[in-house]
């Protein structure tokens, strides 16, 4: 009898898009947690996660390990880690907080290149100019018809986190926008 093998697939496997000024590709698979905690519990979670959760709007923090913590709301963060599992790290923390593993709810698309901002601006109404959205800035916002979490990872590079079921829409939207990004 044939042995059953379960293979994990990503919604955007193998897809690449872009134009002269921009490259669009899916980001590597990652662990993600949605974290809700009040001010009292932050120090204990900082210790467990190995980073300082940002407490100002639109700020993100990236630890040496590559683990990222994105401010989403006054008591809400999205933690992304391509290597270690943050869920395991916070499991035993003695504090009042709530955490949900959303690793498989989200997927991410990387948009990079001189035309990256213009590509993004095709569907994102937020001000993403340098003063309002510097490197490291992050925000939950909208793009086209869907909600995304946007993070600026470099001068010309953005990470777009969207729900897995919306990934194809997001990818197609960015692919179309890329055609005009250097206009």
């Amino acid at each position: 009898m044939a042995e059953a093998v379960a293979t994990r697939t990503s919604p955007l496997d193998g897809l690449i898009a872009g134009s002269v000024g921009v490259a669009i590709a899916q980001a590597a698979p990652a662990h993600r947690i949605s974290l809700r905690v009040g001010a009292d519990g932050i120090p204990a979670l900082n210790k467990a996660l190995g980073l300082d959760l940002p407490t100002e709007p639109k700020k993100s923090v990236t630890a040496k390990s590559g683990r990222m913590a994105l401010w989403l709301g006054p008591d809400e963060w999205l933690v992304i880690d391509e290597k270690g599992d943050p869920m395991a790290d916070v499991a035993g923390v003695d504090a009042f907080f709530s955490v949900v593993d959303v690793s498989h709810r989200n997927t991410a698309i990387k948009v990079a290149g001189r035309g990256a901002r213009a590509t993004l601006e095709a569907g994102c109404p937020q001000d993403v100019t340098d003063d309002a959205f510097p490197i490291g800035a992050c925000s939950r916002t909208v793009m086209g018809k869907i909600e995304i979490v946007l993070m600026r990872t470099d001068a010309n590079a953005y990470r777009i986190e969207c729900w897995r079921s919306f990934a194809e829409y997001a990818f197609e939207f960015l692919s179309d926008a890329a055609h005009d990004c250097m206009a």
């Binding site: 709007p57 709301g73 006054p74 937020q126 925000s139 939950r140 909208v142």
Partner: protein, 107 residues
């Protein structure tokens, strides 16, 4: 696009990130189990729907996800001010030029 100031994010953000969430400063009667049907109707169903300045709850749905209160002019669709949920009602006055401002803010 209309920009709305989110008091939690501390900046103006595009209206597409927001959702209207009904009238603000509606106080739940306590104890609600002892009020009459008429009082419940007034609390639960009856809203002011004024022409002019109105106090509303809004939610930064696709941003920080917080509810907050706003004062909006239903004629011009202009937001006069926004403030955090739980804060007391902000007093508004209309200047000689006809423009509504937070009381004490002057020009």
């Amino acid at each position: 696009m209309l920009l709305i100031h989110c008091p939690y994010c501390g900046e103006d953000r595009p209206e597409l990130e927001f959702r209207h969430a009904g009238e603000a400063h509606v106080v739940r009667p306590d104890p609600i189990s002892e009020i009459s049907d008429e009082e419940f109707e007034a609390y639960f169903f009856i809203r002011d729907n004024p022409k002019g300045l109105t106090y509303e709850r809004w939610r930064h749905m696709h941003g920080c996800a917080r509810f907050f209160n706003a004062v909006r002019d239903t004629v011009s669709d202009k937001f006069v001010t926004t403030y955090k949920a739980g804060n007391p009602k902000v007093e508004i006055e209309r200047g000689e030029d006809g423009i509504a401002r937070v009381k004490g803010d002057g020009q």
